[in-house]
Amino acid sequence: MRCQQQLRKGIWLFSLYFLFALLQVKAQNGKIISGKVTDDTGKPVPSVTVQVKGTNTSTSAKNDGTFSIPVTTGNETLVFSSVGFSEKEVPLNGETSITVKLDNTKNTLEDVVVIGYGTQKKRNVSAAVVSFDASKLDERPVNRVDQALVGQMAGVAVKQTSGALGKGFSVQVRGTGSISAGNEPLYVVDGFPLATAAPNTAGNYANGNPLDNINPNDIESIQVLKDAAAAAIYGSRAANGVVIITTKRGRSGKVKLDVNSYAGFLERSKKLDMLNADEWIDRATEMINAQWVASGPGRTADQTNEQRRIILGLAPGAVNTTYMTDDRWAQPGHPGLRFIDWQNEAFRKGLTQNHQVSASGGNEYVRYYMSGNFNRQEGMVINTDYTSYSARANVEVNASKKLHFGINISPTYSISNDPGVEGKDNILHQLLSMTPVQEDTMGLYPNIGNNGQYKWSNSTNSPIGKLQNIIGLTKRFRTITSLYGEYQIIPGLNFKTTVNLDNTDNNSKSFAPYIVASSLATRQAQLTAQSSGSYSSYKKQTFVNENTLSYNKIINDVHDLSLLAGFSYNSDKLDNVTLKSNGGYSQNNISTLNAATGITGSTTESRNVLLSYFGRVQYTYDNKYLLTASLRRDGSSRFGQNTRWGIFPSASVGWRISEEQFMKDIPVINDLKLRGSWGRSGNYNIPDYGTIATVGLYNYSLNGASVVGQAPTGIINPDLTWEKSETYDVGFDVTVLKNRISASFDYYTKNNTALLLNVPVPLVTGTATWLSNAGAVKNKGWEVEVTSRNIVKGAFLWTTTANLSHNTNRVTSLSNDQSQIIIPSAYGASTQHSILRVGDPMYSIYVVKQIGILTQEDINKNAALYGSETVGDPKYFDANGDGVIDLNDRVIVGHPTPNYVWGITNNFRFKGFDLTVLTQGQWGGSIYSLLGRALGRTGQGFTDNPLGFFRDRWRSPDDPGAGKVGKAYSTFGQIANTDWLYSSDYIRVRMITLGYDLGRVIKTKKIVQASRIYITAENFFGHDKYKGGFNPDATNTDLSGNSQFPEPGDYGGLPLPKSLILGVNVTF
């Protein structure tokens, strides 16, 4: 509390001072320099930023390339910069009128990259930093910032884990190093480090993803700090890398108005191959006959249903669906039955649209960027949609030569409708396995309302009925605000303070009416008691205050020194409310909880505070030798008194070898820099009060009434401390052939030690695991990025950017000298499939191998069997050679993270046309798909519809099928095996955009400065090997059922949306 008071006082004082300073602004004495900026062909370049070097005085060139700027002495140097051109410095030497020619054969090494608490020229960067120029993001349809990162940067694996709208992606920088404390990077937006959030055990962000509701069209650039040397300035949150996002700012000059609009459709990019209705009948008949034959002596498959009825002693007309088929299956035209392709019924073509208007401009005192955005997407599944409204104002004020301040504010509001499509036992999973044959009278609505269920169908309530009747509504209001002030104490020495608040209010409402619940008899007997609903909300607030002192000085023209020192205060607060109906609803047409017969609810709050001190030295000698060192000390309230502080140092060196005289003789090399770095960062993603022993409720009942019971929730580790990540990185950046080809290469090893691992302890302690600093994981890999401007002259231009990264990870130790931990399964021992084993990748897949189909000959030769297996059942590999198949025969057969991730972007320009093609992919990883298991397992009943591979099943010794899938009727049960193992390799043409510059046909340049139309195809082409699901990257279900070993996996994830979109960009 006192802290916040101090802070309020501080803010107040600063505000007062700024006001005071503002009044002191007065006209400057001196000279006015005027001039003109052109490109290398002499054409004027508009909107070039002209800055007096070493000051905050800047302006922007007009449309005809002319500018004027005030200077004091006339001997200053002017700096000209513009997107697409190399930055140029021009010493005035007393001249008052100059013409400047900018070089548009841009050298990317001249770019400025944003690093933690500052910027740096790319050529001077000695750590592993990768940049993505996002300023053109509004020229293609992108709905989320993380979507824009897919396939763009080496070492940054971005996975679209959900096809649902508005959902966060998974971003992993250089593999995964933490077993249970999260692997998502820290996001920093305009210097504001957002609260880190790890996905929950099901792969969802229950309390929001940091990038939710951030409008990608407002983004100027994105940098990813990959190695610890770059990231360590963010200390305890940097172990998984840092993603720095910079939003657009205004430039001095005339108002620039941009309108970007697009609209198009989206639909599924993939359909899962399931049996069709005829094939289902064929399989069901086969299984029912087999069940009949097995049910007793004298029962044969050729006995008719009538004969079976008599044998079973059933009344005329009565059926037993276990032993009898539906007579209508075999009748021509199957009268009274309807064949349904459930996937086709649920998927649709949805409209998607986005409209953005932005204005930017300014003068030497004020610069601004403002935008408003409307986005609406209708999902590929009926009754799903997402709408968002967002606005942004970035305003900077130069109060005086020494003082400037600014504010960034971005309120956003989003509404999404999703009745619960993805995940186990949710609608998508259910509709896949829904029986494709139904009574014609019920149509698409079996087991809904007054409809019963088709006797041979599974008992699922119609997924179409659920999609149409269940409400799942989420509304989110988020505002990110940053206020900052910067004061130049003496030339080169600046003090900067920022105050940031990120506030999210999220509420979700769900309602499932009784008509889509339970069975007909129950619905009719209990009516509204089967209705259920809930309302939950969270409020998340991150408050950050950062204060830095920076000093820049160039001594004797060769010693370039930058110093930084600072401290920050960071507080995260989360309030949760959940309310649930209990015992149904009193009325059916009300979806809010006032109509619930009973309500249970609770609220919870938690908070954590992070306090940090940090400093950095950057030194460059003669533009050749680069040195950076940083140190951060973080203290977190999550850890105990004695262990809460951690120190995170880093250092990096670079040698711009191309600046050496002996290299200047090699003209083919324009720039070559060797880099090496080391650093240590941390991970603190544990619950807020993870080191404080608490008592929990363990109520009991006595004499028919509840009594309160309380007891310790378990044993607590008071010495818990930071997870450490140590990275070594060596690399080089090279530019050759007249800047035509630039490339970067990095090799790294990242050792994560003292993992925040839930270490299994003997249950006799009262607890299964305790959070401890134990175990280690090593990631090793290399990354290469190449940009090649293949054709640079003439009407046709072609640029290629490619990246490829390779990562392997190994568990190098566990606790108590354990050699392995078998990851539990949420669905029983028969689906257990993951292992942490020293020497193998994290979450390696550990199952029995299927090696064919059992023949009579195998059985005669005493082949190893699992339980009561017979001919036609799968043949498994007896790994331990003990003559039987059991869990002891499991072997490691794959690992989830891919070995290689790559992306290629090709950009072509021809006259007014531009064409961009982004292709990306991965290989070397595996998926253990529980969806694949649910849809195609041994022992599966006949009602559920299985995967298409059942077409090629074993039917008899004479008709053994493809040798992969055993007989449909199997009674031996199941064991986790390679049946459900799929390769996660894929190649995907993520985006093709074809644009045309309308400026060539519209000549009214007075109003419209630039205009372009484009058409984009997203996810139109691709190939993957995942036959057991839609999306190899999908995560939607908690597979381990254990927060200590989070293992999100696919149990019904949507395919990626494929969209065709027409858009227009206009600049006024």
């Binding site: 205060y569 006595l702 007891a711």
Partner: protein, 498 residues
């Protein structure tokens, strides 16, 4: 401008001093342990939490005793169910959910009990009523004994933990000899017998009494008097039938309990805490957090509830009653229809197999399937009488006439004619039907020495699907959960046969 620099310095200095204190955060929505155990009600609540460790006790008896025995023939029904391996004597049970649960829940409850005992000696002075303090200790020790008794019957040798242990300490404690575990159980129960009240009134009904402790103590003596089978199981071959009988006779002599003449009334939803009950696991419905039970539907197929127009209960598929048990009921035995539902039709599908529905009053189906109100009786007066008969047949004081009288009293209630010269095997057969679905069958088979012959014969007659592995003596107890074996190599040895 100097002023600005001055302000900056002031603000930084003030800020740093104030903010470091902010790192001391304490939970907002949870209660720190250091503030607990400060008043009498805290200790009562702490003991209640130990009772809550019983919550899964009934389910466990159904999963591990009923399902493993000849009462159920729960082989694969297409799907894969965790009970299948229990029923079929799989060797790979070390990873089985039910087996792990038995270890985990009991030790978690023991942890709570040990915590209470330690806190009572550390901070118990806040309890001004000395009798209450002693009673709380006695209740806790009774419960700890019950948890250890449960463990020793499932696993044989188990680690003996009589105080709270750190992770490091736990890694040094291996499995203790069965006899050592019994020593703790018996000393706890003797303390409970000496210090628990005869009965409770009002809101305290359902707590352990002196006679609860005597009943369990008798069963403990009898269990360890059972044969050893040459395994480290619950039987030690001791002959303590007299000791057991003394406890049982005390209960009978107390007059606190009576033999209810209507079998269904014992299990009636409106007759809980009745005069048959020595100790039960208590539940009630409609509270938050839920304090209801799940055991009533555990063996019942979901579709049956639906056929009754009730919401799904999550009972999955059927766990059929064995033909062997069905056939063993004599004609006219009224307990059969009460305990067992034989077949039903739902959605046009006729299920011909039978299942236990002893605890289900379908009219009392709760809105939440995890919230059934009915108590689960751990020991009832009929049990006391029949255990007495068992002691007599093993040579404790008493006559064959006493045995016959007890058995015939039970038979008469079931509508059956009296019999004479009841043998041990015959007594166990009566127990099988009297206590069907009450979770005692496996323990009865093991204690009486019949398990080997009965289960081997059962497999020959009832395992028509040839799904079961041949019975071995090693299967009398379960394996130590694999997760525990994996914690530290060599800490616990695995039971033979697994």
């Amino acid at each position: 401008m100097k002023k600005i620099t001055f302000y900056i310095v002031i603000i930084i200095a003030g800020f740093l001093s104030a903010c470091e204190k902010n790192l001391d955060q304490s939970p907002i929505s949870a209660s720190p342990e250091e503030n607990f155990y400060a008043q009498t009600s805290d200790f009562i609540q702490a003991v209640n939490a130990v009772y809550s460790g019983l919550a899964a006790y009934p389910d466990r008896q159904l999963n591990l005793s009923e399902t493993r025995s000849d009462n159920l023939y729960a082989v694969s029904d297409g799907g894969v169910r965790d009970w299948e391996g229990v029923n079929d004597f799989y060797k790979t049970l070390a990873g089985n959910t039910y087996v792990t649960e038995a270890w985990q829940s009991n030790y978690n409850a023991i942890f709570k009990a040990n915590t209470v005992l330690e806190k009572l000696s550390e901070k118990g002075s806040v309890i001004s009523d000395a009798n209450l303090k002693t009673r709380l200790e006695a209740e806790t020790r009774f419960l700890r004994a019950l948890f250890y008794f449960d463990l020793v019957r499932w696993f044989g040798k188990v680690p003996l933990i009589d105080h709270t242990v750190s992770a490091a300490e736990a890694l040094q404690i291996g499995r203790s000899a069965v006899s050592d575990v019994y020593n703790l159980i018996i000393s706890d129960l003797q303390f409970a017998v000496a210090n628990l009240p005869d009965a409770y009134t009002g809101a305290d009904k359902g707590r352990a009494t002196k006679y609860s402790a005597k009943g369990i103590l008798a069963l403990v003596y009898m269990t360890r008097s059972g044969p050893t089978y040459n395994i480290n199981g619950p039987g030690l071959g001791l002959s303590e039938w007299d000791k057991a009988l003394a406890q049982l006779n005390d209960i009978i002599a107390s007059g606190k309990f009576s033999f209810i003449t209507s079998y269904p009334t014992i299990f009636s939803y409106t007759n809980e805490n009745n005069s048959e009950v020595l100790f039960d696991v208590e539940y009630s419905t409609g509270s938050t957090p839920v304090v209801g039970g799940t055991f009533p539907w555990l063996l019942v197929p979901d579709t049956w509830f639906q056929s009754q127009g009730k919401a799904t209960q999550g009972g999955l598929t059927i766990r059929p009653v064995s033909t062997n048990l069905l056939n063993s009921y004599e004609a006219g035995d009224t307990r059969k229809a009460f305990s067992i539902q034989s077949g039903f039709t739902y959605n046009g599908v006729t299920e011909t197999r039978s299942f236990f529905k002893k605890y289900v009053d379908v009219s009392k189906t709760p809105a939440n399937r995890l919230d059934w109100p009915i108590n689960f009786i751990v020991m009832r007066y009929t049990d006391v009488l029949m255990l007495k008969a068992e002691c007599i047949l093993h040579g404790a004081a008493g006559t064959q006439a006493d045995v016959d009288a007890i058995v015939n009293q039970v038979r008469a209630r079931a509508g059956l004619l009296p019999i004479a010269n009841v043998s041990l095997a015959r007594l166990m057969e009566e127990r099988r039907k009297e206590f069907a679905a009450e979770g005692s069958r496996w323990h009865d088979l093991v204690r009486s020495g019949l398990v080997e012959s009965v289960m081997t014969a059962f497999e020959q007659t009832d395992d028509v699907q040839h799904a079961m592995q041949p019975f071995q003596r090693n299967y009398i107890i379960y394996p130590v959960p694999q997760s525990e074996i994996d914690v530290k190599q060599g800490l616990y040895d695995q039971n033979p046969g697994y």
